[in-house]
Symmetry: C2
Subunit: 338 residues, 2 copies
DNA sequence: GCCAGAATTGACAACGTTGTCCAGACGTTA
DNA sequence: TAACGTCTGGACAACGTTGTCAATTCTGGC
């Protein structure tokens, strides 16, 4: 009744190749050959081994295999938040490419915290992933130097690596932002606000730069109260938007720096009588069904992921080129809100 | 120039504990002790070892560690589609619980294909994950029996396991669907259509059952042309919806069986002059901003994930209870479209 | 019936780590 | 000074697999 044997025996020991070999009455290596589909095994022997395998429920231990072979056939993906819909298609695209190459995907969220990013990345390296796709949270990635030197293929996505030379795949944040703001200007707006992410995030800075460039090209002044970079927490975005929309000379249009900001801004604007134009960076589901449809600058997140993962596997397949920087175009989708 | 040495030397060999030991002038086991923070090392020795570690860029090889220790400190999550926004919060919740337990998360999509699910699950087992969280695509999971017997903790989420006895965490699909349809009936609807997922998917069947129960309880007949189970591909959903809305006695309300269906239905209805009531299973972002706001039956996806992962780690910590089935409540959120 | 050569099979070491166990060094006490 | 205990450090085996290489069996041709 109260004996603890049951809980200690919960874990049956798994059969090994040795067990299979013993049961099938063959040598260890023969089992290995069968398991790996190597040639040089008689059909009869193979059948005996297969029977033993199913009888015992044997499953090869990949940890041991990895130890022996050096490659793990797995790659790591570190992004900011697994729950952010923007990263869903990217995540999936990376997974698909990995799958095509017979690799598994290990992933985790950095929560935009550089320390956590590093912790996660190094944990992945300790697992000896073959490669890494990283959406960086931090700005200094020198901690990766020994890993890269040891052969861990590494590709950064969405934001460049800090302080090291590595492959990067980006969206054209600057160009996209400039297009967005130019679009608003073309529709007659002169006082345009920008609400973006924290200034330590590269894309936020680039989008701000695009905003300023468009204003500048149109000869429009930028009142510094029209620019708000900071957390994308709803409360902050809400108060920033409300501040820009208050006062004697409020902005008549807003450019929001990413999907999270856009969603909050849409909510703020929904409660207002007077129409305010809006263009958002990042497309999102149902943007066309809100009234008016939300005009956006769309990035192709799936393509970002696909490009990054392909680059990664090119490296793993031995490509020996200097680090590349790929910039993917964005696309302005006018829907009415601009 | 054309020598291939460069590409073959791309992968520097990684330093091992032996290398560190040699450099620090200590024994192998002492390095192991330092790396694992075990007691019994003089501060001076520890310092020498640490120096050697940083100098060489040593990182413990977890594959070897796993081989020796038996546990991998990683769990697998198999879901249907990494890009589906419904699974984002679930994915993240599982990751957070894993992180709290010092485990990494390996995940992959089954694409609703039982064969692919099995392939993925067995690959994870070969990696010797400590546990599995599975959103099942298939209906027969007997292939997992040897794994579970060998101690791989396994929890099914969102849908029950097939043909085996295992932990399951579900949302109350039946109750939620019944509430949704009852809500429509309370608003005066008599002809209500249901568009759901494929009938081999458990939740689809349960939601249909809830639909029928609500109609039945209200004494309303169900015309079989009002029920459409099948793929959630937009074209099929669109034609199903249009069929129900055509003819002499069209439905006046629709109940959509999951978020993908809802989104497509919303698009169909947006093109129609006459208002059609709609309640959707699953909440989604911005459902409140569409006009009219979409009434939904919300599941708490994050809680599903948290519950499942907690159950998993309880098992890994030795809990020796019979398999459990947990059913989480759903919540009707009226927003106007109903 | 015998031999060369090919095909099949198995013994053994190695991958990098951790657990076990023992050897020295050092300090304390009688 | 001897006896004893404590603390630190290291030698060695083992985890389960795969690569190497040698041993064994089989085949066909004479």
């Amino acid at each position: 009744m109260t004996d603890t044997a049951r809980s200690t025996t919960r874990y049956g020991t798994r059969p090994t190749m040795k067990d299979v070999a013993a049961r099938a009455g063959v040598g260890l290596k023969t089992v290995s050959r069968v398991v790996n589909g190597e040639p040089g095994v008689t059909p009869d022997t193979e059948r005996r081994v297969q029977e033993a395998i199913t009888a015992l429920g044997f499953r090869r231990n990949d940890s041991a295999r990895v130890l022996r072979k050096g490659r793990t056939a797995s790659i790591g993906l570190v992004l900011e938040d697994l729950a952010d819909p923007f990263y869903g298609p990217l995540n999936r695209a990376v997974e698909e490419v990995a799958r095509d190459h017979g690799a598994l995907l290990i992933n985790g969220s950095s929560a935009e915290d550089p320390a956590r990013e590093q912790e996660l990345v190094l944990a992945l390296c300790a697992r000896r992933v073959d490669g890494l796709v990283i959406i960086p949270a931090g700005t200094d990635h020198r901690y990766l130097e020994p890993e890269i030197a040891a052969g861990v293929a590494t590709v950064f996505v969405d934001r460049p690596a800090g302080e090291i030379d590595a492959d990067v795949v980006l969206s054209d944040s600057f160009g996209g932002a400039r297009d967005a703001v130019a679009h608003l200007i073309a529709h007659g707006h002169r006082r345009i606000g920008f609400i973006g992410d924290q200034p330590r995030i590269h894309t936020a800075v680039e989008r701000l730069r695009g905003y300023r460039a468009a204003m500048d090209e149109a000869g429009l002044p930028v009142d510094e109260s029209w620019v708000a970079l900071g957390s994308t927490a709803p409360e902050r975005v809400r108060s920033a938007a409300e501040a820009m929309l208050a006062g004697p000379a409020p902005v008549t249009a807003l450019f929001s720096g990413n999907n999270r900001v856009t969603v909050t801004v849409v909510r703020v604007l929904a409660g207002r009588p007077r129409p305010v134009a809006l263009v958002g960076f990042d497309d999102f589901e149902l943007a066309d069904l809100i009234d008016p449809g939300i005009t956006v600058v769309a990035q192709d997140a799936a393509r970002l992921g696909r490009t990054a993962a392909s680059l990664l596997f090119r490296r793993l397949d031995g490509a020996d080129e200097p680090p590349q920087q790929r910039v993917l175009p964005t696309r302005l989708i006018p829907r009415g809100s601009g």
